[in-house]
Amino acid sequence: TQLLEQSPQFLSIQEGENLTVYCNSSSVFSSLQWYRQEPGEGPVLLVTVVTGGEVKKLKRLTFQFGDARKDSSLHITAAQPGDTGLYLCAGDVTGQGGKLIFGQGTELSVKP
């Protein structure tokens, strides 16, 4: 059974602080995707990383895919209240019909 361990599960920080969310697995993924979900809505894709060691930046968000394609991290610089939400990592398992294995999610709360 493929698992994706995401940590921390909950994070409450002040505006302006930095944070990092981690996703780890013993499985190799063809890609790793990060989503953000707000209450009452579906997850929205933030980024897809496909190459081992790849780093992608989206404004204040930096995403990294591990060299072995088994782990990933999301770093947010100078968090803002608008960053509040549920962050989900998801691994695409090669040859399994587009199936994503999701992490347990990180509930981020950024206080003004």
């Binding site: 929205v44 587009g98 999610g105």
Partner: protein
């Protein structure tokens, strides 16, 4: 101009009833999915379809029957609803099986009483 739309948004029903959730995407994607999100926000795949063909059936009870009349639609019918079926069900699509990212619908919150 919603990309992936699913209806209804909320569904409250009694145990033993049969209900359906509909999903449509206007993105021209080949692959569609049903996911279940439990009370702890964990998302787990139920089914995937590619160009109307069933690709994944993830050991879901056979009370759940998906149907894809064409590649833009994927509906989910549930027979004999049980309390444990209460969850949020999400429809999603991706361009094809290579899956560089999903577009999700806004979810259907099913409550079985």
């Amino acid at each position: 101009d919603t990309a992936v739309s699913q209806t209804p948004k909320y569904l409250v029903t009694q145990m033993g009833n049969d209900k359906s959730i509909k999903c449509e995407q206007n993105l021209g994607h080949d692959t569609m999915y049903w996911y279940k999100q439990d009370s702890k926000k964990f998302l787990k795949i139920m089914f995937s379809y590619n160009n109307k063909e069933l690709i994944i059936n993830e050991t879901v009870p056979n009370r759940f029957s998906p149907k894809s009349p064409d590649k833009a639609h994927l509906n989910l019918h549930i027979n004999s609803l049980e309390l444990g079926d209460s969850a949020v069900y999400f429809c999603a699509s991706s361009q094809d099986l290579r899956n560089y990212g999903y577009t999700f619908g806004s979810g259907t919150r099913l409550t079985v009483v």
